[in-house]
C-alpha cells in the first residue's frame, strides 16, 4: 500500500485559475452566444472555437502543470494530468465535431428535415454539452462530477432525438431512461463514499473532494467502499457504455446526428470512464488493488465480448461504429483493471486516439448515411470510388479503432498487453485478443463491403459540405500525427499513468 500517488496531492503550487475556468466558461459563453445570435454558422464556429479553447487549456495545463493538482474557484475546480488529458480529448474531438455541425445543419435544412427552433436548440446544446463535459473532468468534488455527468445526459437527450421521427424518439427515451438509472446507481455509490468519508471523520463539506479522499483513503471503511466502488463502476460505466448498462449506446449513437455521435462516442464515453479512473486510486488505497481490478476486468471483458459479438451480426453501419466504441471502452476498462502506470498511460492514449478516430468515422458515416438516406450496410457499396475523402476517412477511422498501425491505438494495445503479461494476466490478453479478432473480423469484412467494390450505377452521389471536408482532413491528419508521435504530450500521459496507477 501507499504509493507515490497520494504524495503529490494537497499542495497547489501554481495559480492556474484561468486555465481551469476557461474550459467551462468558454463553452458556456458559446452557448449563451448561440442563444442570442441567429447566425447558425457563426454559432458553430464559436462553439468550435470554444472547443479549441478547451483543448488549448488542456495543452497548457499539460505543459504548465506543477507537481500537484491545480485548484480554482475555492476548490470547486481541480486539474491534474487526467484533467489535462481529458480536456485535450474534449477539445480535439469537440472542435472538428462542432465545426462539422455547420455542414450537418445545412444538409438538414436543405432537406427540410428540421425547424428553425430545432436548429437553434442544436446550436445551444452542443456547447452546453461541451461545458458539462469540461466541468465533469475538472470538478474537484465527486458529487459535482456526478452532477455534471448526469447533466450531459439531459443535454444530449435532445441532441440524440434531434433528427426527429420514431427511431430518434425511441433512442432518446432509452438513452435517458437507461443512462439515468445507471448514473443514479453511481449517485448511490457517491453517497456511500460520502458516508464512509464522514464516518472516517472527514469534515462534511470536503468529504467528497478527491484530494481529501485520497489523503484519507486508508481511513475509509473498506466494506462500505467496496459497495460504493462496485456501484460507481457500473453506474459511471453506464455513461461509458459498459455492461450492464450498455444497452442505450447503439441506439443513441445510431440515431444522433453525426457530429453529436462523434462527440458522444469520442468523448462522452471517455468522460464517463474518467469518473471511474478518478475514484480508482481512492478505492485501491482503501480496499486494496484487487477489488476494482476484478470488477473492471469482469465489466470490461463482458463489454468487449458483447460488443464483438454484436459487431458480428451487425447490419447497420452507425450501430457498428457504436459497438466498436463499446469494444474500445471495454478494452480501456480492462487496461484500467491492469492498472500499471504504463497501462493507464496507454488507456488514456487510446481514449485520445479513439476520440479522433471516431470523429472521423462518424462524420464520414454521416455523409454516407445522408447520401443513401439509410444506414443499412447492405445498401452501401463502393464508397471509395464515389468519394475519395469520405472513403479514405472511413478507412482511416476503422484502421484507428481496430488498432492497426501506424495509428495510435496500436501502440496502446501493445503497451497494455505488455502490462498485462508483466502482472501475470497473460490469459486475459489471450481472451481479449480473441475477442478483438472477432471484432476485427466483423469490422474489416463490413468495411470492405462498404468502401470497396464497383458502385452501382444508381448509387447516389456522396456530397461533402466544405465544413465537413475540412473537419475530415484535419481529423485524418490528426490521427496520423498521433500515431507517429506523441510530441509534447508524451510526458503528460506518462505522468497521468503514474498518478492513477493503482496499488498492487
Amino acid at each position: 500500500m501507499g504509493t507515490a500517488t497520494s504524495a503529490g496531492y494537497g499542495s497547489c503550487v501554481t495559480d492556474m485559475t484561468a486555465l481551469l475556468v476557461l474550459p467551462v466558461a468558454a463553452p458556456v459563453a458559446a452557448a449563451v452566444f448561440a442563444a442570442v445570435c441567429r447566425n447558425r454558422r457563426l454559432n458553430a464556429a464559436v462553439a468550435a472555437a470554444a472547443a479549441l479553447a478547451i483543448g488549448a487549456c488542456g495543452l497548457l495545463l499539460a505543459v504548465a502543470r506543477g507537481d500537484g493538482p491545480a485548484l480554482a474557484l475555492g476548490g470547486l475546480l481541480r486539474a491534474d494530468a487526467l484533467t489535462a488529458v481529458m480536456l485535450v480529448v474534449i477539445g480535439s474531438v469537440g472542435a472538428p465535431a462542432a465545426w462539422a455541425g455547420i455542414g450537418y445543419v445545412d444538409q438538414e435544412v436543405a432537406a427540410g428535415h428540421t425547424t428553425p427552433r430545432r436548429v437553434r436548440l442544436y446550436g445551444v446544446l452542443v456547447p452546453t454539452f461541451l461545458a458539462a463535459m469540461a466541468t465533469a473532468v475538472s470538478a474537484a468534488n465527486i458529487g459535482v462530477m456526478w452532477a455534471a455527468i448526469e447533466a450531459t445526459t439531459i443535454v444530449t437527450a435532445f441532441l440524440v432525438g434531434h433528427r426527429g421521427g420514431r427511431a430518434a424518439v425511441e433512442a432518446a427515451w432509452k438513452y435517458v431512461v437507461i443512462c439515468s438509472v445507471g448514473i443514479a446507481v453511481a449517485l448511490l455509490g457517491t453517497v456511500l463514499v460520502y458516508f464512509a468519508a464522514v464516518h472516517a471523520g472527514i469534515p462534511a463539506s470536503r468529504a467528497l473532494d478527491i484530494d481529501t479522499l485520497l489523503a484519507h483513503a486508508t481511513a475509509l471503511d473498506p466494506a462500505v467502499l467496496r459497495v460504493a466502488a462496485g456501484l460507481m463502476v457500473i453506474g459511471f460505466g453506464a455513461k461509458a457504455g459498459l455492461v450492464p448498462f450498455h444497452t442505450w449506446l447503439a441506439d443513441a449513437h445510431s440515431q444522433a446526428p453525426a457530429p453529436v455521435s462523434a462527440l458522444m462516442s469520442g468523448v462522452l464515453l471517455a468522460v464517463g470512464f474518467s469518473a471511474v479512473l478518478r475514484v480508482k486510486p481512492v478505492v485501491d488505497l482503501a480496499v486494496g488493488g484487487g477489488y476494482l481490478r476484478t470488477a473492471l476486468l469482469v465489466v470490461g471483458l463482458a463489454t468487449v465480448a458483447v460488443a464483438a459479438l454484436m459487431l458480428l451480426v451487425q447490419r447497420d453501419f452507425k450501430r457498428m461504429l457504436a459497438y466498436s466504441s463499446m469494444e474500445n471502452l471495454g478494452v480501456i476498462a480492462v487496461a484500467a483493471a491492469v492498472g500499471t502506470p504504463l497501462a493507464i498511460a496507454a488507456l488514456l492514449w487510446q481514449v485520445l486516439a479513439h476520440g479522433m478516430g471516431k470523429t472521423v468515422l462518424f462524420l464520414s458515416a454521416g455523409q454516407i448515411q445522408s447520401a443513401h438516406g439509410s444506414s443499412a450496410i447492405a445498401a452501401v457499396r463502393g464508397v471509395l470510388a464515389r468519394s475519395r475523402l469520405v472513403g479514405a476517412s472511413f478507412a482511416v477511422g476503422i484502421a484507428v479503432v481496430v488498432a492497426v498501425p501506424p495509428f495510435a491505438i496500436f501502440g496502446s494495445v501493445i503497451a497494455v498487453g505488455r502490462s498485462m503479461t508483466e502482472v501475470g494476466l497473460g490469459w486475459l490478453l489471450a481472451v481479449q485478443g480473441t475477442l478483438m479478432v472477432v471484432a476485427f473480423a466483423a469490422l474489416a469484412s463490413r468495411t470492405v463491403g462498404i468502401l470497396l467494390g464497383e458502385p452501382e450505377p444508381s448509387a447516389p452521389a456522396i456530397m461533402t459540405p466544405r465544413s465537413i471536408s475540412l473537419a475530415l482532413v484535419i481529423g485524418i491528419a490528426a490521427c496520423l500525427a498521433l500515431g507517429l508521435s506523441a510530441g509534447p504530450l508524451a510526458g503528460l500521459f506518462r505522468d497521468a499513468g503514474l498518478m492513477l496507477a493503482g496499488v498492487r
Binding site: G143, I154, W173, D251
Partner: protein, 230 residues
C-alpha cells in the same frame, strides 16, 4: 425533540417510503401512482425535517423543505400534467387521449409483489456492511432506501407506460436521496443542488419525450419502442 420521538419520526418516514413503494407496485392506476409518489416525496422530505428538528439545524430543515417542494409537489405535478393533458395543443393531427391505467403488465401483480418482497429481503441482506459500520437510527433504516431503489428499478422494468417508468425512476431517486439522509444529513449542498436539478430536468425531459412517444407511436406504451435493435 427527544430521542424516542426522533426515532419514531425517522422510522415512520422510512416505513412510509417503503409502503408507498410497495403500493406503487400494486396499483395500476396512473394517477394513483403519481399520488403515491407524492406521498413518498413527503415521507422523504420528512427525513431531513425530523433530523433537522432533532439536531436543531435550520440548514437541514431548509433542505427538507426544498425536497418537499421538489419531490412532494413539483415533480408529481409535472407528471400529473402528463396524465391530465388532453392532447397536444398545437402539434399534429393525432389528438390523443392520455392513458389512465397501466396497459397489460409485463409481469402480473401478484408476481410483482413477490418480486418486491424478494428485493426488499435482498436489500436488507446486502446493506449489512453499511448498517454494521454505523448503528444509528438512520443507518438502521438504510435497507429501506435500498429496497426503494430496487423497487424503483423493478417498476421501471415491469411497467409499460412512459409515465410509470418515470415514476419508477423518481422512486429510485427518492431511494438514493433517502439513503443520503439516513446515513448522513444529506450530501453537501452543492451536490444536493446539482442532483436535484438533474432530477428535475430528467423528469422534464422524460415528460417531453413521453409526449413525443405518444405523438409518434400513438400511445405512451414504451414497451412498443422496439424498432431499434439488431
Amino acid at each position: 425533540m427527544n430521542q424516542d420521538l426522533y426515532t419514531a419520526g425517522m422510522n415512520t418516514a422510512a416505513g412510509t417510503l417503503l409502503l408507498t413503494a410497495v403500493l406503487v407496485v400494486w396499483r395500476r392506476e396512473l394517477r394513483a401512482m403519481v399520488m403515491l409518489l407524492a406521498c413518498q416525496g413527503v415521507a422523504l422530505a420528512a427525513l431531513p425535517i425530523v433530523d433537522g428538528i432533532a439536531h436543531a439545524s435550520a440548514e437541514v430543515i431548509g433542505v427538507g423543505v426544498a425536497i418537499l417542494a421538489l419531490r412532494g409537489v413539483v415533480l408529481p405535478a409535472v407528471l400529473l400534467r402528463l396524465v391530465a393533458r388532453r392532447g397536444p395543443a398545437r402539434r399534429g393531427p393525432a389528438r390523443w387521449v392520455p392513458a389512465r391505467r397501466e396497459s397489460a403488465p409485463v409481469v402480473g401483480t401478484s408476481l410483482s409483489l413477490l418480486i418486491t418482497a424478494l428485493l426488499t429481503v435482498t436489500a436488507f441482506a446486502v446493506t449489512r456492511p453499511i448498517v454494521r459500520l454505523q448503528a444509528t437510527v438512520g443507518s438502521m433504516a438504510v435497507p429501506v432506501s435500498f429496497a426503494v431503489i430496487l423497487i424503483g428499478i423493478q417498476v421501471m422494468a415491469t411497467r409499460r407506460r412512459a409515465l410509470s417508468q418515470t415514476v419508477g425512476f423518481l422512486m429510485l431517486d427518492n431511494g438514493i436521496t433517502s439513503a443520503a439522509f439516513l446515513l448522513t444529513s444529506g450530501v453537501p449542498l452543492v451536490v444536493e443542488l446539482g442532483a436535484s436539478l438533474d432530477v428535475l430536468f430528467v423528469t422534464l425531459v422524460l415528460g417531453l419525450l413521453a409526449r413525443q412517444v405518444q405523438a409518434h407511436f400513438g400511445d405512451s406504451d414504451v414497451g412498443r419502442l422496439r424498432e431499434l435493435r439488431d
